[in-house]
């Protein structure tokens, strides 16, 4: 446990020092996106990696959080600090209610149902234009503000987003090592066995689904308030797939893996800027290759390779 905390402290320190090394608003902006995507990937990982329940509709919860926050602060001039928790409660409540029927489904059926849900959200964002502005989006969403500090520059946004992201990470790490985390893994391995041991599998799955949606909503609200503009294209089916790719690449059930996956998939299109059209091919290829050759994800795959090639050498020497 102490080692885990130390690791987290080290990671936080590195993150907080990042603005010293990376300068320029473009880079800061990219890192802000890495933070938001890390939150989303962790949210999906709690559901997919720990509880073993797939969701292909998480972009919908992300979008819903962004839109509830955005509409409340623009149309109704509510303070953003009030709008964010309201959005989280709305999205969490909705996910809790949908969770009961939807999580009765398993495997492929769950994937299709959540996918349908995500697309219904997406269509709703597009069609309720009197509220959301439709395809042209919602603009002039106010920035967050603490006392006299307005979070309107890239560096300030970096600290805001990463402050929250680190808090979400710490929370997820603790949750994973708690009684709940163990119960989730039990449900993942065998729902029946978990139930025999006294885990209320059905309720637990719904709760983790709602929690995951709440984290997405929080990320969505923060996205809306830092970008000040949102449009449905950011919350479509493709983004749900992108989130799935992040989680799979980083490794199912690995919180730092989610960060790695999010960072890779956010940076990759920026690096491949010239090859803009190729990124979709690369995502698909990465998914296939990862599932086939490194089903544990990068974090576990790399440490397994390390063990295989570095640590086994002395052993082979003895033999």
């Amino acid at each position: 446990m102490k080692r885990d905390l130390l690791l987290f402290a080290g990671f936080s320190l590195l993150v907080m020092m990042a603005p010293q090394f990376f300068r320029g608003s473009y880079l800061m902006n990219v890192l802000v996106f890495v933070g938001i995507n890390t939150m989303l990937a962790i949210a999906l990982n709690l559901l997919l990696g720990y509880a073993g329940q797939i969701s292909l509709g998480h972009a919908g919860f992300f979008g819903l959080g962004a839109y509830v926050s955005g509409i409340m602060t623009t149309t109704f001039s509510v303070n953003p600090w009030v709008a964010m928790p309201v959005a989280a409660i709305v999205v969490g409540g909705l996910a809790f209610l949908i969770g009961f029927p939807i999580l009765k489904l398993k495997g492929h059926y769950l994937a299709m149902a959540t996918l349908g849900l995500g697309i219904i959200f997406y269509i709703t964002f597009n069609e309720t234009y009197e509220w959301t502005g439709g395809p042209s989006g919602l603009s002039e969403i106010p920035n967050l503000q603490v006392g006299g500090i307005i979070f309107n520059s890239d560096v300030k946004n970096f600290y805001l987003i990463w402050g929250v992201t680190l808090a979400v990470m710490l929370f997820a790490l603790n949750l994973a090592n708690s009684r709940v985390g163990r119960a989730l893994r039990a449900v993942h391995d065998s729902e029946i066995a978990a139930q025999v041991l006294g885990v209320n599998a059905r309720l637990l799955k719904v709760q983790i689904f709602a929690l995951s949606a709440i984290i997405c909503s929080l990320a969505g609200s923060l996205y809306a308030h830092t970008m000040t503009f949102i449009s449905p294209t950011s919350f479509g089916f493709n983004f749900s797939i992108e989130l799935l790719t992040m989680v799979v690449i980083g490794g199912l059930g690995s919180i730092y893996g989610s960060f790695l996956g999010a960072a890779l998939l956010t940076l990759l299109p920026e690096i491949l800027r010239g090859a803009n059209d190729y990124d979709i091919v690369i995502y698909g290829g990465l998914l296939v290759v990862m599932v086939m050759y490194m089903p544990g994800g990068l974090v576990r795959g790399i440490s397994a390779l390390y063990r295989k090639f570095v640590k086994q050498k002395p052993e082979t020497g003895h033999a």
């Binding site: 489904l105 299709m112 697309i119 690369i282 995502y283 599932v291």
Partner: protein, 293 residues
């Protein structure tokens, strides 16, 4: 609301419904033989249309030759997909299969985008585009082609599954893969067969609808999902109930788009999908109360 209008919506709904039915049967065949929901099913629909286009424009083939070529090419992609992505999978858990078929579908779509570009392409209709009047409504000759070809395929499907050895073997796999293996059926070959049949069927669906709706590298996503919806309504059967499921979906969608709002057209299919999965996961006509796992 005029009767003519409703007739018009119903007729055009039936023809898109026939397409959904073909795609849905493709889903069911693979699902029954392997237990996999092939998320890449829609991509074969897209490939069918676009390969036809290439055969017509680059190889300068006449339409009657271009169609079999396009079906063969799409089927080849289906075989490669099964061989390179599905068969080598070390841990074929449902989640890994979902992820790998999604990955495969994105890969196929991405490559299609690089080959054919992002533009929407039009494919010429099979026999002109003079509208035919039926009652107060009109349909195009292409609609008739769709109905006819769908009927032929459903018939061939029936013959294959009930009157040939390999079709019967595949049905055995769908009842119990282990038992099928024990009586000497090569289950892995049946898996490959199921991918061949359903990719060919997807390609046919793509070819016959392309003249009506145009085609592009990304048409497969929505068509695939709607086809899956048809299969769910039909209870994942590879027979008549999926066809009825497709037709119901097509008509409801067309009436909904015409009478309520065209913007929500795509949402209708997914609301039906969710309702069926929540309330009757065994399909609209299914009797057995087995859990879909």
């Amino acid at each position: 609301m005029q009767f003519d209008q409703i007739l018009q919506y119903t007729l055009s709904g039936l023809s898109t419904g026939a397409i959904y039915a073909l795609i849905g049967i493709g889903f069911s065949i693979i699902y029954n033989a392997t237990g996999i929901i092939n998320f890449a099913q829609g991509e074969f629909v897209m490939l069918g249309g676009l390969f036809t286009l290439s055969c017509l424009e680059f190889l300068k083939l006449p339409l009657w030759a271009a169609i079999p070529c396009a079906i063969a090419a799409s089927t080849l992609v289906g075989i490669l997909f099964e061989r390179l992505a599905i068969r080598p999978l070390k841990q074929p858990t449902p989640i890994n299969l979902v992820i790998i078929t999604i990955g495969g579908s994105i890969l196929i779509r991405g490559i299609a985008m690089l080959v054919w570009g992002k533009d929407t392409h039009s494919v010429p209709p099979f026999s002109g585009d003079t509208p035919i009047a039926i009652g107060g409504a009109t349909i195009l000759p292409q609609h008739l082609w769709i109905f006819a070809i769908t009927l032929i395929i459903i018939f061939l499907n029936k013959v294959y599954f009930y009157h040939t050895i390999s079709g019967k073997a595949m049905r055995a796999c769908s009842y119990n893969r282990r038992a099928a293996g024990l009586v000497g059926i090569d289950v892995r070959r049946m898996v490959l067969f199921s991918f061949i049949i359903s990719s060919a069927m997807g390609a046919v669906a793509g070819i016959i609808i392309a003249p009506l709706t145009m085609t592009a590298y990304d048409v497969g996503v929505m068509l695939g999902l709607k086809g899956f919806c048809a299969a769910i309504i039909g209870g994942m059967s590879s027979g008549l109930s999926t066809v009825i499921g497709g037709l119901i979906l097509g008509v409801l969608e067309s009436l909904g788009a015409g009478l309520i709002s065209s913007g929500y057209k795509d949402a209708i299919a997914f609301i039906i999908l969710l309702l069926i999965l929540f309330i009757r996961p065994q399909g609209l006509f299914g009797k057995s109360n087995s859990e879909r796992v």
